[in-house]
Symmetry: C2
Subunit: 326 residues, 2 copies
């Protein structure tokens, strides 16, 4: 097998992506990777020169900063708006001659937000114009392992239709519930700048970073499962149970549109301290500060219905303690 | 599963390693990795500060240089002796205050050499003394995916018995003939310096380099196959066929003691040019210059007997052309 994966596996993925993205993608524009984390490291190794910046939208997955640091890159954080949507003027203001890329994660971990197509189209225009102004290419990297886990008939827009210099990185850990098998892929827009050089660099990066190739057996498995996903009705039901518990206990939050996380406001400013209060109730949450969003906390609903239901009293109790100033 | 792998899988590997190394190794000293290439990248990410040196013994696997460069390290090449064995005085002379580690590969790709125990014991003394002199720890990294592919009753000495600050990195690609599944491991000596910090760093490196963990299903597979290996008699037979062809055609070479490579001298100094002559005969070989050993070329005998047999006339023809100065 070539290091970028079995051609027929890439063809199967390209066929599905062509529909999702509304742009014809072929196996030649694609690389099988060791999950999305492996794919992102390959992309950054191929793209970045020391000191170049990648815009991260807070709240963001904390490990992006490590991935950048691995390859000499620097994260530049831009906050999303109060609904966790793209703050386009803030993004435009953060772009400089050092900007190599921006990474978006939609549906988002930790907020469950999905960026709408109009915002992505406007983002494409901003990146295109900034690239012209600085005489550079600014890449849009979409990390989208939650694409198929969506609720209420939402759709995840294809970024290939909104911006030419874009790269999609994804994984099957979530949509096939295959965590630990380390199988994912990346694909570049068919008309991306320096396409051949970029794909060659990614292929070499995949090899020399020690991935060499995506696990061979799992490549064969996912090729047969391109139109399949876990039953999202289960996640939708758990989301309902969870939202209802949080609403009743008085928390402020955005009902997630996709993925399996909720990112409520902590009732006190110190999210790490609030996490400790939840822990006293045997509830495991992650402080928002780790996502670049202090004052919030992340909950995951990839656990059983009963576990979620049993947490109701704990959430009420933690809210009581927090607002009583204990 | 923890990012360093299923504990019971690590236990199965530790039990076999304890016998091989003659030192009791436990699951706590071990990390499942995405093959040996992934393991080496994890080791280098954990160990290296920018500009620190790792001694490479030529001929060496060419990708070591890339792995070092990924993490800010610098390779310092030391030649082996005329039999491709350790040149201990040359190694001693190459050690400086910048030296962080030395990497050995035994059985060796490309030479098939196995370093004898006395030489490894002497190497341990050299590293220990140099470490004291420079007030540092110099790590010995053994990359040994070919440990079980050995001929003529040779044995591969366990480096844990010869040096305390040592790390073993390996893979199942070769001994189970599972290339592409990306399953391997690393283990540190139970009494290695800064053991806890080092293992923590490796665990984090495994995660943030994007491996996250070794492929989960394959972890379960190899746990059941610790005492199994491919039938090495097949490789031994192919080695005989190949050596006899090369001998008859007038090539100078060392009969490999392990692995499945032969590294003959090119009959002309320019190995790249000689490779082209072999290619005219439809024989695929790799020039020695890529292994830091110009004037040689690498042949692999992980191909069928018939393919090897059919190459006889080609090797004679290439020798004729080379010596005729064509």
């Amino acid at each position: 097998m070539p290091n970028n994966g079995y051609p027929w596996v890439r063809e199967a993925i390209a066929a599905r992506m062509s529909v999702e993205q509304g742009v014809t993608v072929t196996q030649a524009e694609m690389l099988l990777t060791c999950g999305a984390a492996g794919g992102l490291n390959v992309v950054f190794k191929a793209l970045l020169n020391p000191g170049e910046e990648v815009i991260l939208l807070a709240p963001y997955f904390v490990e992006y900063n490590f991935y950048l640091d691995n390859h000499g890159g620097v994260g530049r954080v831009v906050n999303t708006d109060q609904d966790f949507n793209l703050d386009l003027p803030a993004i435009a203001a953060a772009i400089s001659e050092k900007t190599k890329a921006i990474i978006i994660n939609s549906p988002n971990n930790p907020t469950g937000q999905i960026y709408p197509e109009e915002a992505l189209t406007a983002l494409g225009v901003i990146l295109e114009e900034a690239g012209k102004r600085f005489g550079s290419t600014i890449y849009l990297i979409a990390d989208e392992p939650y694409r198929k886990i969506i609720f209420d008939g939402n759709i995840v827009p294809g970024i290939f239709r909104t911006y030419r210099n874009s790269i999609v990185v994804s994984s099957y850990s979530k949509d096939l519930s295959l965590p630990g098998e380390r199988i994912g892929y990346l694909a570049v827009h068919p008309e991306i700048d320096d396409k051949t050089a970029l794909l060659d660099a990614m292929n070499l990066a995949n090899r020399i970073l020690g991935f060499v190739n995506a696990p061979a057996l799992m490549q064969r498995v996912v090729a047969e499962l391109q139109d399949v996903t876990v039953d999202t009705a289960i996640y939708a039901r758990r989301r309902e149970i969870f939202c209802s518990i949080l609403r009743d206990a008085g928390y402020t939050f955005l009902a997630p549109r996709g993925a399996f996380y909720i990112f409520p406001q902590a009732p006190i400013q110190d999210d790490v301290r609030f996490i400790a209060l939840l822990q006293e109730e045997k509830i495991l949450a992650v402080p928002g500060v780790g996502f670049g969003a202090p004052g919030y906390f992340r909950l995951a609903f990839c656990v059983g219905d009963e576990v979620i239901k049993r947490s109701a009293e704990g959430f009420r109790q933690a809210m009581r303690k927090a607002t009583a100033g204990i």
